[in-house]
């Protein structure tokens, strides 16, 4: 990291790790995988210095389970991985939601399917948002578009995780992880959440507590699932965020998340300079998805164009939100195909030019 007065020139992965430290992350557990290994490397240096915990886990199965262990004690804990590694965590994520255990998961997407490649991609939207674990469950998912926002949303991930006792995924891509840009860290802007009413600490002078995910009594699991979904309704009501850029009078609204949205913003600016009325709608929270805001924005547009570095994943949620308010089209490149300013501008020009 290179500092000037208030800004630090830092790689996305290291920025996320530093933000986690500032947020009071006491434990990091992880297993290396490109393009996010700098997070674990950073933590291996910093955690011991601060008297906190770094454990190089034997697998992603182990690292997420260690996060669960720390989470059950009300300790702020984090793991980070990429596509195939996050795939291995899905069973545990489902269990975490069920047992209401907090924890932060950094997912820096690479190209897939399979081992795929290490290029930046957005093919794990479904993996994060819909989840590959079993049963009815949801995980809160945040999608930064810049390194600065990755810092801000890492803070928010810890806050939401503790506040709602839920796993939170920060969904970044290889570009965000590897990119350097100047950021301001500031201080962790949220109040500490009191965990004493539920965290495990040994049943001294109180009733025993259990945070488990097997509930065999008739009706027990149904009640728990309903309660978890009520919690998600509350999260949707309180925590949904998005960026709407020049959407009010837009003929064409682009929907995009993460790095692609940042590039799309540049394309929208360029299109506006040429007199084409384009706009950008960028969900910041992918779960909860800003359905209502997108629907309302789409009402006045002639068309919605969803752009992603995949074969059309957020597209499903965009269509569901737009719900006939405007036609929805898609442009995307999968598995590490980069979407450039020229690509997006071309897509706008094709429709509005």
């Amino acid at each position: 990291m290179i500092k000037t007065s208030s800004k630090v020139l830092v790689k996305g992965n290291e920025a996320i790790a530093q933000a986690a430290l500032n947020a009071g992350c006491k434990c990091y557990f992880g297993y290396p995988i490109t393009p996010q290994s700098e997070i674990g490397e950073f933590m291996s240096r910093k955690m011991p210095e601060l008297g906190r915990t770094f454990v190089p886990a034997e697998s992603e199965l182990a690292s997420i389970s260690m996060v669960i262990g720390a989470g059950t004690t009300g300790t702020k804990a984090m793991t980070s991985s990429s596509s195939c590694g996050i795939a291995l965590m899905q069973e545990a994520l489902s269990a975490m939601v069920c047992a209401e255990v907090p924890g932060v998961i950094i997912s820096v997407m690479r190209g897939g399917p399979g081992l795929g490649n290490i290029a930046p991609a957005q093919g794990d939207y479904f993996q994060a948002v819909k989840g590959g674990g079993n049963g009815d469950y949801k995980v809160v998912v945040l999608a930064p578009a810049t390194v600065q926002e990755a810092v801000n949303l890492t803070y928010r991930a810890f806050h939401l995780s503790m506040k709602y006792r839920t796993p939170v995924i920060l969904l970044a891509d290889g570009i965000l992880g590897q990119m350097m840009e100047p950021v301001e860290f500031g201080e962790y802007p949220y109040e500490e959440i009191d965990t004493s009413a539920w965290a495990l600490s040994g049943a001294k002078n109180r009733k025993p507590r259990f945070l488990v995910s097997l509930h065999m009594q008739e009706g027990e699991m149904e009640a728990i699932t309903n309660r978890i979904f009520e919690k998600h309704d509350l999260i949707a009501k309180n925590e949904t965020t998005y960026e709407a850029y020049q959407t009010e009078d837009a003929d064409l609204i682009i929907t995009a998340f993460g790095t692609v949205a940042r590039v799309a913003k540049a394309a929208v600016k360029k299109a506006r300079e040429k007199g084409m009325k384009a706009g950008l709608f960028r969900p910041v929270t992918l779960v909860p998805f800003p359905d209502e805001a997108l629907h309302n924005a789409a009402k006045s547009a002639k068309m919605v164009l969803d752009i992603e570095m995949n074969k059309g994943q957020m597209l499903v949620d965009v269509r569901s939100a737009v719900f006939g308010a405007a036609p929805v089209e898609f442009y995307g490149r999968p598995a590490g195909g980069l979407i450039t300013l020229e690509d997006i501008y071309g897509q706008i020009e094709k429709r509005l030019g």
Binding site: L9, T34, I175, M180, T259, V263, K265, L338, I339
Partner: protein, 183 residues
């Protein structure tokens, strides 16, 4: 004003460092900047590059496709990136490791025999920093003083003994451009 720069060559030639040097200098001048490496496979000797933006406003698109400036420090990079220089853009080529060949009429070429220059100097010379020196002298996008300040802060601690050689490398690059202009 937004300038995009691609620095390409072999892994081990210090491309990523050259890019972050520009970024740091830009930050010192209060400009907006981004840096993205090609990552993972750029082990020593492999093909590598990084993309940099230096901008007065927010960098909206950190991904560089067509670039205002490209540094090609070896032959494969010259072959690969010549077509990705924007019309009117600048192509800086290390002619010690790449052919002197002008396939396009709409871009400006600067061929610098970086390794030969380095070999003639008494101290160790870093061609990545030499290339940055030539680029700054040629374009004036950043102040020489900002780059040197950035070098000083990047060459601290364990690397402090390399500072003088880096500063000299920068000057050799700048001198080449001055001499070139005189010719």
């Amino acid at each position: 004003m937004d300038t995009s720069i691609i620095i390409s060559g072999y892994g081990g030639q210090g491309l990523l460092f050259a890019g972050s040097l520009l970024c740091h200098a830009a930050m010192i001048e209060g400009k907006q900047t981004t840096w993205i490496p090609s990552y993972g496979a750029e082990m020593r000797g492999g093909a590598a590059n990084c993309s940099v933006h230096i901008s007065d406003d927010e960098v909206s698109s950190p991904i560089v496709n067509m670039s205002d400036v490209v540094f090609a420090l070896n032959q494969p990079s010259e072959d690969k990136f010549e077509k990705r220089v924007k019309p009117g853009g600048l192509f800086i080529v290390n002619s010690s490791m790449a052919k002197i060949e002008r396939k396009r009429a709409d871009i400006e070429y600067i061929f610098i025999p970086m390794n030969e220059i380095a070999a003639q100097k008494p101290e160790p010379v870093f061609i990545n920093v030499m290339a940055v020196g030539a680029f700054i002298e040629k374009t004036g996008i950043l102040k020489e003083s900002s780059v040197k300040e950035a070098l000083k802060s990047m060459m601290s601690g364990k690397k402090a003994h390399l500072l003088d050689a880096n500063l000299a490398s920068f000057d050799y690059g700048a001198e080449f451009i001055k001499d070139f202009a005189r010719v």
